[in-house]
């Protein structure tokens, strides 16, 4: 058994790429060395190192046998002897095997499994050099190895023997490096057994979980936790320590959104909350040091934060000198997309679109129109130039400060929402309308000029925009017939349908065939769509529904085979007494019931009640009557049945037990 340690030492890797690199290294190693067994790989990392520990590897891969084809027996003894000699054996040791042309000699060659040491040495250079990073660089010169940052050292030891190889001019060895400032300045020899401890002695906690725990231990009461920030800090430090700073409470007069953004995104501080949930004039920062005995780091960070907050206050004051409403013409100077013109152009389109949507969903048109006109104006402010992630929010805050009205301000504030499936939708109807109009405009215009997402390429985040519209329409139950607003952009139709199906399945939890059934008929408004899906889901377990659905599928197939796409009303006089007439009567009864009932559940229950008549019809009646008039009339009856009752959903999409073969 052998334990293998690989440490790839680099200059500081961007924190957000580390998890991906580790998982790629894990998979590549597993693929290359799976034959040697061993325990699950242990992966660790810090900004300057990617680490892999493979324990309990076999020293040697299992032996394998290969069959070497020899001459045919018919070729005579000389050929057999030659073949045996070539394989260092005798004719007696050879086997024989028949093939299409006759019996031939074969040699069962035993291939000794290679040692793990040899295999590692051969394969590691390629594995290390090919770890995937989203963006690479070269540093040894044009055409050299590409990596995320320059490779500076490699530790590769198998049971304390160095596996000797080279990548980009860096030779593997047994020496690691400590913390840049606190550790030894010299290379530090390690073994698999001493690795973690030696690093710890040199102020590197190589296990990310340990660094995380050290950060958490430094929290003060009220520290606002944040998973993404925590991950960043864990991968920005080798030996994290926590400092606790404060700022002048007068800055709390700035909006909380701005303070939080400065602290979290720009300075990577955790903010601190008072017991009442409001922001405290404090922060928690994480350093890559073993402490701050003189308080210099705290003072430095406080000073930077003060400057940042001063900037923000300055931006706020300067920005107020020109109201949002006076900035509309300035939007002409900001590109939306090279081919799609400026934000001024976009604003004009969104104003029109938002007013149309507002009229349909009964939102306040004046509020929506004003909000649409002003919603992109914050892009011209110093505040948003500095804090781009606050676009929309700053517009909302400014609109409020400039007395554009609470409703307008809120609509602007929320109009980028929802930014993800987890994010909430805009709080007000007017905000929802503005968000939809903005996103719909982006989708329509981008699709028109062929900017359509492919694979992982979606630079304008069009999927997110579409998903956002769908989420708003479902959650807020807005009666907007979305598909009608994209009929002039055909490529958008399947794109939007995919998002709708995703939402029905993955968010609302409907089965895929239920989703297919309601999507197979004209989509209409989203609340209606959800209600139809809900009704099918509800009625589905009842006794008669699936059999009726199966019969609908049968009817559809019969009509298809008969080539019927259109038919007149069935002629009652041609209907025979018994099952045929009964079905027709039942059809008329159910039809009037459906017209009288309001809920989809009741309508579906009425349709399901057709089961006895439908079953009997198929049991007793031959549709393909020799008399063409009768046959045609029966097809017409089935056609009416199918079309009349398929406006809620296409029941033939419902997968029924044993029903798929009809």
């Amino acid at each position: 058994m052998a334990d293998f340690l690989l440490e790839i030492g680099t200059e500081e890797i961007p924190d957000w790429m580390i998890d991906g690199a580790l998982s790629d290294l894990h998979d590549k190693f597993q693929n290359a060395f799976g034959a040697f067994g061993g325990n699950a790989l242990r992966m660790q990392a810090s900004p300057r190192r990617l680490v892999l520990l493979a324990e309990a590897l076999s020293e040697r891969a299992p032996d394998t046998q290969t069959v070497v084809q020899g001459p045919y027996l018919s070729a005579g003894p000389k050929a057999a002897e030659g073949f045996a000699r070539k394989n260092n054996t005798t004719v007696e040791q050879l086997g024989t095997l028949p093939d299409g042309k006759g019996e031939r000699y074969v040699f069962h060659q035993l291939v000794k499994g290679r040692t793990v040491a040899d295999t590692l040495r051969d394969k590691l250079p390629e594995i290390v050099a090919n770890i995937h990073f989203p963006k690479g660089m070269y540093w040894t010169g044009k055409g050299g190895v590409r990596f995320i940052r320059p490779l500076r050292w490699i530790v590769a030891t198998l049971n304390d023997h160095v596996i000797d190889f080279e990548v980009a001019g860096v030779r593997s060895g047994n020496a690691t490096r400590g913390h840049r400032i606190l550790g030894s300045k010299e290379p530090i020899p390690v073994t698999v057994a001493t690795y973690e401890q030696k690093l710890r002695d040199n102020y590197v906690l190589v296990n990310p979980a340990e660094r995380k725990a050290r950060i958490e231990a430094g929290y003060v009461p009220g520290t606002e936790t944040d998973y993404t920030l925590m991950r960043t800090l864990v991968y920005l430090t080798e030996f994290p320590s926590v400092i606790h700073g404060s700022f002048d409470p007068s800055y709390l007069q700035l909006p909380r959104e701005i303070l939080s953004t400065v602290m979290r995104h720009h300075q990577r501080y955790f903010s601190v909350l008072k017991p009442d949930g409001s922001l405290a004039p404090e922060f928690v920062a994480v350093t890559n040091t073993d402490g701050d005995p003189d308080g210099l780091i705290r003072k430095g960070n406080e000073r930077v934060l003060r400057a940042r907050f001063n900037d923000a206050r300055f931006f706020w004051e300067v920005d107020q000198r020109k109201k949002l409403s006076a900035r509309v013409p300035d939007l002409a100077k900001i590109t939306f997309q090279a081919k799609l013109g400026s934000y001024r152009d976009k604003t004009e389109r969104v104003v029109r679109l938002a007013a149309e949507v507002a009229a349909i969903v009964d939102a306040d048109v004046n509020t929506v129109s004003l909000a649409a006109l002003l919603c992109k104006c914050d892009l011209t402010t110093d505040m948003v130039k500095e804090f781009t992630e606050l676009q929309g929010i700053v517009g909302g805050l400014y609109a409020k400060a400039q007395d554009e009205g609470e409703a307008v301000a809120t609509a602007i504030y929320d109009h980028y929402k929802p930014v993800s499936m987890e994010d909430s939708i805009p709080r007000t109807l007017e905000g929802q309308v503005l968000s939809i109009a903005d996103k719909l405009d982006t989708l329509r215009e981008c699709f028109k000029i062929g900017l359509i997402p492919t694979g992982s390429k979606d630079p304008f985040a069009l999927r997110r925009a579409a998903q956002g519209i769908v989420k708003i329409l479902f959650e807020a139950r807005l009666p907007l017939p979305l598909m009608e607003s994209v009929v002039d952009v055909p490529a958008l139709v399947p794109f939007l349908k995919e998002r709708i199906e995703f939402y029905l399945r993955d968010v609302l939890g409907f089965a895929y065939d239920e989703v297919n059934a309601v999507m197979a008929v004209p989509i209409g408004s989203f609340p209606d769509l959800a209600d139809r899906a809900e009704a099918i889901h509800y009625i589905r377990p009842t006794e008669d529904f699936e059999p009726v659905a199966a019969s609908f599928k049968r009817i559809k197939n019969i009509l298809k085979q008969a080539g019927i796409t259109f038919a007149d009303q069935p002629n009652p006089e041609l209907l025979a007494d018994g099952p045929e007439k009964d079905l027709h009567d039942a059809f008329n009864r159910v039809r009037s019931q459906i017209e009288a009932r309001s809920s989809y559940r009741e309508k579906l229950a009425a349709i399901a009640s057709l089961r006895p008549q439908v079953d009997l019809f198929f049991d007793k009646i031959l549709v393909n009557d020799p008399d063409p008039a009768i046959r045609q009339n029966r097809l017409a009856l089935l056609h009416s049945l199918l079309t009349k009752f398929s406006s809620i959903a296409d029941f033939s999409e419902i997968v029924t037990e044993g029903g798929s073969g009809i």
């Binding site: 961007p14 320059p150 840049r180 890559n288 430095g300 300055f314 900001i334």
Partner: protein, 298 residues
């Protein structure tokens, strides 16, 4: 406490001791130390180079009439180019911080990803912003491409933001309170600059005149680049003067942009025009530096 100029002296001394040429600022308006030919042209081609200089860098849009304590129309960059990059470049860089009096054991240094791209120069690189106790003090870039040309030797560019570093060292909240020399504050030396150029850039620039200038310099640059193709004596051909014309265009573009005189449709086109000049100069320079390949090709 070191004055502003003391810190500059120390950084220059530090890099001079490591073999760098100490250059003086380039005597044209530029937006960053990168645009000086000492960087833009010297990083091209296979010849090693090491240089350090302070470059006053003009960014008209960043002007704040001298009212903002941290933002300046013109700030001072100390630029270091190490080509090729030595293996211990980051250790050398950290050493330079100690040389100007930063005790690294008492401070927090982090290297945070920050990639650099200059569309008007056809240049990009990857690297970090170096954070000292939460303050960005240096931009560190491994150049990958310049003037649209993949670099033979990858240089490290280290750009120190002098005002920030010295404000930190002197523990002042406003750059204007920095002591530049004994008895002279930064405000004494530079405030008038900030005030007057903000007024000029934002309010008084003669836009049609700037456009004319832009076109004249562009024409001159292009004329030279065209002549370079025809000349027999490439060795002495004025590629460097052609580059100055391109730099003029770049600065005029920044001025027009700060004035809000460039519309959306124009903007993309203007960037492409400046880029075309920069790329043309870079190609000519590489050719001029490599006469043997030229003769072999001929």
């Amino acid at each position: 406490m070191d004055t502003f100029q003391d810190t500059v002296f120390k950084l220059k001394r530090y890099w001079a001791d490591r073999g760098a040429i100490i250059q003086e600022p380039y005597d044209l308006e530029v937006g960053a130390g990168t645009m000086s030919p000492e960087t833009f042209l010297r990083v091209l081609g296979p010849k090693p180079y090491k240089v350090t200089y302070v470059q006053p860098s003009r960014r008209p849009a960043d002007g704040r009439y001298g009212e903002n304590p941290n933002r300046l129309y013109k700030h001072q960059q100390l630029q270091v180019i190490l080509k090729p990059t030595p293996d211990d470049v980051l250790e050398q860089y950290l050493g330079s911080l100690e040389a100007i009096g930063i005790d690294l054991r008492k401070h927090d240094i982090k290297f945070e990803e920050d990639n650099w791209e200059a569309p008007t120069l056809g240049a990009w690189g990857v690297g970090w912003q170096v954070m000292l106790d939460g303050l960005e003090i240096t931009q560190f870039t491994y150049f990958q491409q310049c003037g649209g040309i993949d670099l033979d030797l990858v240089p490290a560019e280290i750009t120190y933001g002098l005002e920030r570093i010295v404000a930190f060292l002197q523990n002042v909240d406003s750059v204007y309170d920095i002591e530049w020399a004994p008895g002279f504050k930064y405000a004494d030396v530079r405030l008038a600059d900030e005030e007057q150029f903000s007024v000029y850039n934002f309010e008084m620039v003669d836009v049609p005149l700037l456009w004319q200038e832009f076109e004249l310099h562009e024409r001159e640059c292009q004329r030279l680049l065209n002549l370079f193709r025809e000349t027999k004596d490439q060795r002495r051909f004025p590629v460097l003067p052609a580059y100055e014309q391109a730099l003029k265009c770049s600065h005029l573009f920044n001025l027009l942009d700060a004035r809000g005189a460039i519309s959306v449709t124009e903007r993309v086109g203007i960037i492409a025009r400046v880029r075309k000049l920069a790329v043309g100069v870079a190609e000519a320079w590489v050719e001029q530096q490599n006469p043997t390949a030229q003769e072999a090709a001929a």
